[in-house]
């Protein structure tokens, strides 16, 4: 009996130690599901793929046919300032405007009242360079590639992709007036290059903190205003930049869209 107790003692001690070595102690307690909803809008309108017509600050009319982006590395902080980091293996999501279910990100966090949400728009560089067997689900390059969110020739994920039609765009080889924004770049593996990984911090206090409890599912409702891609620090013109992929200009676009997320409200 004594032995077992000693063992338990040691185990507890070890657990305590390993917890302590975490940068931020996780709130204890039972875990419950927290839902984070990404509701894509454009200016003051709800986004409608293909059928909606919009005008950017450059005065160009356009419609959007595809919108996808990676959200990863989710963290939440309680009103008391205690942070919980969602285990990385369950913290990669591909939000796709064409798939409503993909717009609700479900994570398991300890019960608590959360006032801050932090996430990465894109895929961190560590995961971007990890062994292929560690890249599952939304990150499997052999399926992510089919979703069109992976550059094979320049090994790396496309973090944000938006495509659409606009008379302002020149006719492409397929005969369409198409614009394409494929934004990625994790900083480079063997040589430094552009880094478009963006960490977004959202304060939930004004819109309503998330009260995570077992048996309920709090839903943090985020609005993603993709008009910000055009109308931001840089005024992006489709005519001048119909296609932006792996190029220096992509940094300006990424800087613009960093401000596209706002917290609308929380359903507790």
């Amino acid at each position: 009996m004594k032995r077992i107790l000693t063992l338990i003692g040691i185990a507890t001690f070890i657990m305590a130690c390993s917890k302590e070595s975490n940068p931020a102690p996780a709130p204890t307690g039972e875990k419950a599901t927290l839902s984070i909803q990404f509701d894509n809008i454009i200016g003051s309108k709800n986004l409608q793929l293909n059928t909606g017509n919009y005008t950017n600050a450059a005065g160009e009319q356009f419609s959007i046919s595809k919108l996808q982006y990676y959200i990863s590395n989710i963290r939440v902080k309680t009103t008391a300032g205690v942070e919980f980091v969602v285990p990385q293996d369950s913290s990669y999501f591909l939000v796709n405007e064409a798939e409503p279910a993909s717009q609700f990100l479900k994570v398991r966090v300890p019960e608590g009242d959360y006032a801050t949400l932090t996430f990465v728009l894109g895929v961190d560089s560590l995961r971007s360079t990890m062994d292929i067997s560690k890249r599952t689900g939304a990150l499997d390059p052999s399926s992510g590639m089919d979703a069109g969110m992976y550059w094979g020739w320049n090994s790396g994920y496309i973090f944000f992709k938006m495509e659409g039609l606009s008379a302002a765009a020149p006719v492409d080889p397929s005969g369409q007036n198409k614009f394409r924004y494929h934004i990625g770049g994790f900083g480079g593996y063997s040589a430094p290059t552009l880094n478009n990984i963006k960490t977004i911090v959202i304060d939930l206090t004004a819109g309503g903190i998330a009260r995570v409890r077992k048996g309920r599912e709090a839903n943090i409702h985020i609005m993603t205003d993709v008009m910000k891609l055009f109308n931001g620090g840089t005024m992006v013109s489709i005519a001048a930049h119909p296609t932006v992929m792996f190029s220096d200009y992509s940094v300006l676009i990424a800087n613009n869209y960093t401000s596209m997320f706002t917290h609308d409200h929380t359903e507790n």
């Binding site: 360079t129 062994d131 292929i132 067997s133 890249r135 499997d140 390059p141 052999s142 399926s143 590639m145 089919d146 992976y150 094979g152 020739w153 320049n154 090994s155 480079g188 593996y189 063997s190 040589a191 430094p192 290059t193 552009l194 792996f246 190029s247 220096d248």
Partner: protein, 345 residues
């Protein structure tokens, strides 16, 4: 009692049979680092090379189902008898005879490569096959389709089981198997290697003289024993027909414009044409380039413009010697090794 010899005979047969089976297993020696090579870069600890994995990788490498219309395999553009290049093609052609924009490089000594492709855009061999499979001018297929085709195939589920323990066919498993095959493609049995390892006759006087010239004029970039330093440089061949800017396209660093991976010089006898777009057909043309056709550009490697003189000075006599040295880098054993051939299956 009378039957004893027969019994013994039968026993012997069993023993011999057993032995030869064991030999078969023993004959797969896994990955071996040649004595004159450094430590491999490929993370072998993440991909244990086994006979079953290697054989599965080989089968996949020669599998036309990896292409949209089941016509093109990796082995079509990477032919063993040409040291796994696309012999006779300046830029390789793929599905429906669509043309690519670059010359297919040899697949050899991949375990020591830090990056892949002429621009180094791929940093892990395990991620490499995705590129040709999904490239519209190469195999034009989707990974999801390839995996479906393999799952529906009468042999692959069992082969995956043999290699990975279960018959599940996933992208990562497929990539790992293909890497096992490619990592095993080690070319280290040229005359040069046997001289360096002191396993065979020494260089002839001409070869030795050529080696000395090589070391003073070429090995800064084409570093032994791989004959590449894995760096990206502009060797002054000038802008190609399609303005391929090489390394710059993956780093966006202006200093990398028109820089390409320094290629190995092993097996040159089998890998013509030369350079990233296959524009030079012979080694004489290559040496003409280095001696008097070099083009100055802002990113030209400084080694090729010393004391403001363009190019590398090589006399006619020196050229002959240099060529005889380069000839010692051909590895007949590599291009005829049965383990690597399509017929081996």
């Amino acid at each position: 009692m009378k039957h004893r010899p027969i019994l013994v005979g039968a026993l012997l047969v069993v023993v011999i049979y057993g032995c030869s089976k064991a030999d078969d297993v023993m004959s797969f020696m896994g990955f071996r680092k040649p004595a004159n090579f450094g430590a491999p870069v490929y993370k072998l600890e993440n991909n244990d090379i086994t006979q079953a994995g290697f054989e599965l990788g080989r089968k996949l490498f020669y599998e036309p189902r990896l292409s949209r219309n089941n016509t093109i395999s990796c082995g079509d553009c990477h032919i063993q008898t040409s040291a796994f290049t696309h012999h006779g093609h300046d830029v390789s052609h793929g599905i429906d005879d669509r043309l690519g924009s670059r010359n297919s490089p040899p697949i050899m000594n991949m375990a020591w490569s830090q990056t892949f492709m002429w621009d180094g855009g791929v940093f892990d061999l395990d991620l490499q096959p995705i590129v040709p499979i999904t490239n519209p001018v190469e195999m034009d297929e989707t990974m999801a389709n390839v995996l479906e085709k393999l799952r529906a195939h009468p042999q692959y589920p069992a082969l995956f089981k043999k290699a990975f323990g279960t018959s599940e066919i996933t992208g990562p498993r497929m990539m790992k198997a293909m890497s096992q095959f490619m990592v095993m493609l080690v070319s280290a049995n040229s005359r040069y290697d046997s001289v360096v390892r002191q396993q065979g006759p020494a260089f002839t006087p001409d070869e030795q003289a050529g080696y000395v010239i090589f070391k003073s004029k070429c090995s800064n970039c084409h570093q032994e024993p791989l004959f590449t330093d894995n760096s990206f440089r502009n060797n002054g061949i000038g802008v190609g027909y399609n303005d391929d800017q090489g390394r710059y396209t993956t780093t966006l660093n202006p200093a990398d414009k028109y820089c390409f991976k320094v290629p190995s010089l092993r097996n040159l006898a089998y890998t013509a044409p030369y350079m990233h777009d296959g524009r030079l057909l012979t080694l004489d043309a290559v040496l003409d380039h280095y001696t008097h056709e070099m083009q100055d550009m802002p990113t030209l490697d400084p080694l090729l413009k010393q004391n403001s003189t363009l190019g590398i000075a090589v006399t006619t006599t020196e050229r002959g010697l240099l060529l005889s040295f380069l000839n010692t880098l051909n590895d007949k054993h590599f291009i005829t090794d049965k383990r690597f051939s399509e017929q081996a299956q």
